[in-house]
């Protein structure tokens, strides 16, 4: 069955979603003419590191939702599920460089590594220092010990927030890079999918999951999971994810963590809140404390149903950076 979507030309969905975003947030950011590159109006700032984020479209609010004060300073959006090319990334670098260098934060995928890598080389040829932090939190995508083979998923949000906070404190590039790497290395995620995503251009599901099944470890672009299992309750699903995440870092009793319950697109906030309740109980029963918890659709895969659970272990430095004020359209902190 063809998925119903409210779009125009499928070839231009990325262009049009970026334009729509600018329609809403044009006061705070500008679009580079003719390019799917958005830059905070506050940038560049002399002596301040610029944080460039980006990747394929189709995961909204990731990545464009995480440009903001104390978050990314520029975002580069590729076509659906496709890394942007090096030309656009280089334009973003030039737009945010205030002489202190630029940090890239993006998910660890073949295409992104090639394109951001090429852009970094070209930036270096122009005398702009670039450091690269690839996010690789998905424990289902490669075994322990091969972390740099893992895919980047919802932990992008955590790493972008930490990098953005350090840049906003006007730390030098080496220090911004250091804490972003530290944040990345303290994050682990695992997800379960209940149904497939659909590419706008084809309208057909990338894979199929049986009515009474769920897929553990499914990727955000239809990459197959590690196992198929019967559909479980929220409590059981949370238990399954946490049971595998905890030994991977490993997280230990006494650790303080941030918790992110991320919806893949069509899973309701109702379900995510029920999962958050389970997660908190299980984590506390395991001796961990939750510093800040988030539940929402932050890193999606079109209308894919399901969720992922991400933990980031905090130390004093990471907690302090996390607690710094910051605002991005895709992220809001408890206002109470």
């Amino acid at each position: 069955m063809k998925m119903k979507k409210l779009i125009n030309d499928p070839m231009h969905v990325a262009d049009e979603l970026v334009q729509g975003f600018v329609t809403l947030h044009g006061r705070d950011l500008r679009q580079l003419p003719g390019m799917n590159v958005l830059v905070r109006r506050a940038m560049p700032q002399a002596g301040r590191v610029g944080v460039v984020i980006g990747g394929g479209s189709g995961h909204e609010p990731l990545f464009l939702g995480f440009i903001g004060k104390g978050f990314g300073d520029a975002v580069v959006q590729g076509a659906i599920f496709t890394s942007p090319g090096p030309d656009l990334i280089l334009e973003a670098v030039r737009a945010v460089n205030g002489g202190a260098g630029v940090l890239f934060v993006y998910g660890n995928y073949t295409g992104d590594n090639m394109n951001f890598g090429l852009a970094a080389q070209r930036a270096a040829a122009e005398g702009i220092s670039v450091k690269i932090v690839r996010v690789w939190d998905d424990i289902a995508s490669a075994p322990r010990g091969q972390e740099d083979e893992r895919r980047g998923t919802a932990a992008d949000l955590f790493v972008i927030k930490i990098a953005g906070a350090a840049a906003e404190r006007r730390w030098p590039l080496e220090e911004v890079n250091r804490v972003a790497v530290k944040a990345r290395d303290q994050c682990r995620s695992l997800g379960v999918a209940l149904s497939s995503c659909t590419l706008p251009a084809t309208g057909t599901p990338i894979f199929s999951i049986g009515d009474d099944e769920m897929m553990v470890g499914m990727g955000l672009h239809g990459e197959p999971g590690v196992e198929s299992t019967t559909l479980k309750t929220a409590d059981e699903t949370c238990g399954l994810m946490i049971e595998r995440i905890l030994p991977d870092l490993p997280f230990r009793p006494g650790d303080q963590v941030n918790l992110l319950i991320n919806g893949y697109g069509s899973t309701t906030l109702m379900e995510l809140l029920i999962l958050a309740r389970s997660a908190r109980r299980i984590l506390e029963a395991s001796g961990l404390t939750v510093h800040e918890g988030l539940a929402g659709s932050y890193c999606t895969s079109q209308e894919m149903a399901g969720c992922s659970l991400t933990l980031m272990r905090l130390d004093d430095e990471l907690r302090s950076l996390w607690d710094d004020p910051g605002w991005a359209p895709g992220f809001s902190r408890n206002p109470f």
């Binding site: 090319g85 030309d87 295409g111 394109n115 090429l118 251009a201 990338i206």
Partner: protein, 215 residues
Amino acid sequence: METLTKGAFIAALNRMITTFDEQMEALSRMDAAIGDGDHGISMARGFHSVAERLRAVADRDIGTIVEMVGSSLTGVIGGATGPVFGALFTELASQAKGREALDVADLAEAFRRALDAIQAIGQAKVGDKTMVDALAPMVAALERAAGEGVGMDKALEMALRAAEEGRRSTAQMKATKGRARYLGEKSIGHEDPGAASFVLIVRALLEGFRAERNG
């Protein structure tokens, strides 16, 4: 001596533009079996941009034209496909700089450089189930053709046959690069769409050469 003239290059590019439009869905279906199903769309998007920019450089040397193709594909496609297919043309461009025609030895050298560049970018070896599995034997065939001193028509035919065999060989391989690698054993039995796209490019070169020669 038979050469690949600028006219033949432009005829070949026009064939690529048409072919990738026509084959968009077929290539995407191939990709859906082992990836996310957008390879055909990516290639079509890239060659649409080539079509838009071709007229502006059509009276320049082959190097300038092919450089435009490389930068269009790299810039517009993105993903892994953009840098890989972009590098293919960018390396051809450095060989063809200022030239109005290329002979078989030039082509062999240019595609050898392209192979080196693509392997440097993607770290793919023969057997990894990527377009390198079609490109590497095609380069070997061109080098053989240059060594034997055969004409352009025969050389391009040898190149096409080698690329096609390489494409077919990918069906038996297990993917170790890109998103297809997460399928592991399940990727066996499907041909690699990048290798298929490369075959389409080589076929367009041969057809462009013949169309120009036959007027």
